[in-house]
Symmetry: C2
């Protein structure tokens, strides 16, 4: 979920860990006799995005008079990014006094019964959404994917262990570079020479047989390439973790490296149910509201249908423009979430972005490393936003062809 306050959600598979729903909140692994618990990390996708269309909105309370639907812009930023209006209105209605508790969520002790109910509901809804079994722990972490680029090798491998990376864009490249501090990573495929517009076919990949994990980034937000299915690691003990915009597959039978900062130690967070120190409480609360909203919409199956439709009409507009608009990404691996495109007449790009902003479609400028435009159309971007963008693109083309 792309928002400023979102914690990084991580799944840990460990048969020795009592899942969070266990009422014993202080020492969930105290019931085991294994003093050196194995961490087998495996995955279900956690790259949750939230969606709401204006049709389905039933605001908890009317927004203040100066804040109406018409005042909203369509925000195409890649992250932080747009949130469902319904979620924002609910958060607004209870910011000052959360459900009669007499305080804001921001003021609550993270060990008080009020916040425990929030984090437990968020986890429970996430488990429902993603069908996460009790074999997995769910961790709510802060510091973003960049922190996990260090935490993953620190927790899962020894400094001399080999690990494999597929580099499909900026994020997997950053993950590879950070892993060099804590392991022996090797890049088994890179899309750099083709400007990160492709995803490799898996059967051609030469994986290191001893690699302790295979790291991939499921969706590169800057370059707009996305895995449509997933490679099988050669080392069959591999599990997988996926979170935020980046995917990882890995395994481990060890505790964290000795040099691991306590705040990057998965076992400590798992043992403390993400409450070792003060967690990002408000971010967890907002995640919970988004999870609830996704369930209200019918879950990920329904949301994916909407997302496919949104992406289809945008890519069709690009591909049907006779070259006026261009998307560099190979068609079979185009991201449903982040759509980069350029103008054949690149000198018009600044004008395109400026005119779109005047019509309340903002943050369409491409990442500085890529240029051009980028429309991020996460779950919370309404269909109406994409339709408005496509109409604008056609009009802009008619005026500038």
């Amino acid at each position: 979920m792309a928002m400023a306050t979102s914690p990084y959600t991580l799944l840990l598979k460990n048969p020795n860990l009592t899942p969070l729903k266990n009422p014993n909140f202080n020492n969930p692994i105290s019931t085991t006799t294994n003093t050196n618990p194995r961490f087998n990390l495996a995955a279900k996708p956690v790259s949750i995005k939230c969606a709401a269309t204006s049709q389905t909105q039933t605001p908890i309370q009317a927004p203040p008079q100066t804040q109406t639907h018409q005042d909203r812009v369509f925000n195409f930023a890649a992250g932080p990014a747009t949130l469902p209006e319904k979620v924002l209105l609910k958060a607004q209605s209870e910011l000052y006094n959360w459900r009669g508790s007499g305080m804001s969520v921001m003021e609550m002790s993270h060990r008080g019964k009020e916040f425990l109910s929030i984090i437990q509901k968020a986890e429970s809804d996430l488990r429902t959404l993603l069908n996460i079994s009790d074999d997995y722990s769910v961790l709510f972490l802060q510091g973003g994917a960049t922190t996990q680029f260090a935490a993953i090798p620190l927790n899962l491998v020894n400094p001399n262990d080999t690990v494999d990376f597929i580099v499909t864009g900026s994020w997997s490249d950053k993950a590879f570079k950070e892993a060099q501090k804590y392991s022996k990573p090797s890049v088994i495929w890179t899309g750099k020479s083709e400007k990160y517009t492709k995803i490799p076919s898996f059967h051609d990949l030469e994986q290191n047989p001893d690699a302790k994990f295979l790291h991939i980034c499921a969706n590169e937000t800057i370059h707009g390439v996305e895995y449509k299915d997933y490679p099988s690691p050669k080392n069959e003990e591999c599990g997988a973790i996926r979170g935020h915009c980046c995917d990882h597959q890995e395994r481990s039978d060890r505790n964290a490296q000795e040099i691991t900062p306590v705040m990057l130690d998965y076992k400590i967070h798992a043992d403390n149910n993400s409450l070792y120190n003060t967690p990002p409480c408000y971010g967890i609360y907002m995640c919970g509201l988004v999870f609830e909203d996704l369930l209200d919409q019918g879950g990920l199956v329904e949301v994916e249908k909407k997302n496919k439709k949104k992406a289809e009409i945008l890519y069709n507009a690009i591909d049907g423009s006779n070259g006026f608009y261009r998307c560099p990404v190979e068609k079979s691996v185009r991201s449903l979430m982040n759509v980069p495109f350029t103008l054949e007449k690149s000198e018009l790009e600044a004008e395109f972005i400026k005119e779109a902003a005047k019509e309340n479609m903002v943050q369409l400028k491409g990442h500085r490393s890529v240029g051009g435009m980028r429309a991020s159309i996460y779950n919370a971007m309404p269909l109406a936003g994409v339709e408005k963008l496509v109409a604008f693109m056609k009009d802009f083309q008619a005026r500038n062809a």
Copy 2:
């Protein structure tokens, strides 16, 4: 500032760093020719707490009808903790649409002009509040003090460097233990045998002459001891950093250790003006509102007066109870912020906490490692809250003496 979403604010002194207010936001040290900039870290106190009394409140807009002043509890939690009502009402009024931008602060790109105006205003107000000169960089970091317990030695010393710790409670003890991973720390004084009720006198301290920094915790939130003035490190090159609840004094003439996760590298955050990756945007926004509120009250001098009065009436109530209530902390080093106390009849403590909660005074239970009660009376706790607590204490005593 004790709130769930608050980033850890850090001051870095470095003559080679262009301060944040420099309009060149991308590479603030590019103007220097020094390729190995020295990090001299020095300090002004950053343990900002926020205060507002109900008298001074001029809400931006009326709260929704179900949310009135009367619904508020007095929240004595040690962190996350109470925030000024004025700040909460302002945050509520602009949660859905920040100042006509058409989006919530949570949805804004951290590189967009709207959020840049928020972080720059927050920094500018903090500089005014604490009289921070341009010699210092201000960093907004996430992960709390526990993350900094690792980051400080990682950034400031070599693995074999000696560093000194004064251990006055749980937080300085945690900092010492984490520093063992990245340096050679030695405890030059500990209050453990006296249950952390004291602060040492400085002239008796045997500091290691080679110590690269001297680490102290200015205010121990669990044990309620607070430095009233500060020791001078023997090594005169020492500077100091103070942030959150914990204080540090340190120096450095080197870059971070090679094993430092990129997200814990001060130089990277300084070079990127706290925007290396997505920062805790909403937390920074809330900090900015609190800083503004503190300035509106007349700055820290005025707020300190209020805080001294609040602490005085509470400690007087304890000390004047003929032993019914007891505070274990030596009088000269009692915290103005966190007031631990016990009942002579300890069997009544649970009843005390329960009855107080019925009268809307919550989170008075002491930390599990200490027991008894704890009243945290940070800046945002109104005088009326402390007065109500003291009246309740007298009544409870009369009924149970």
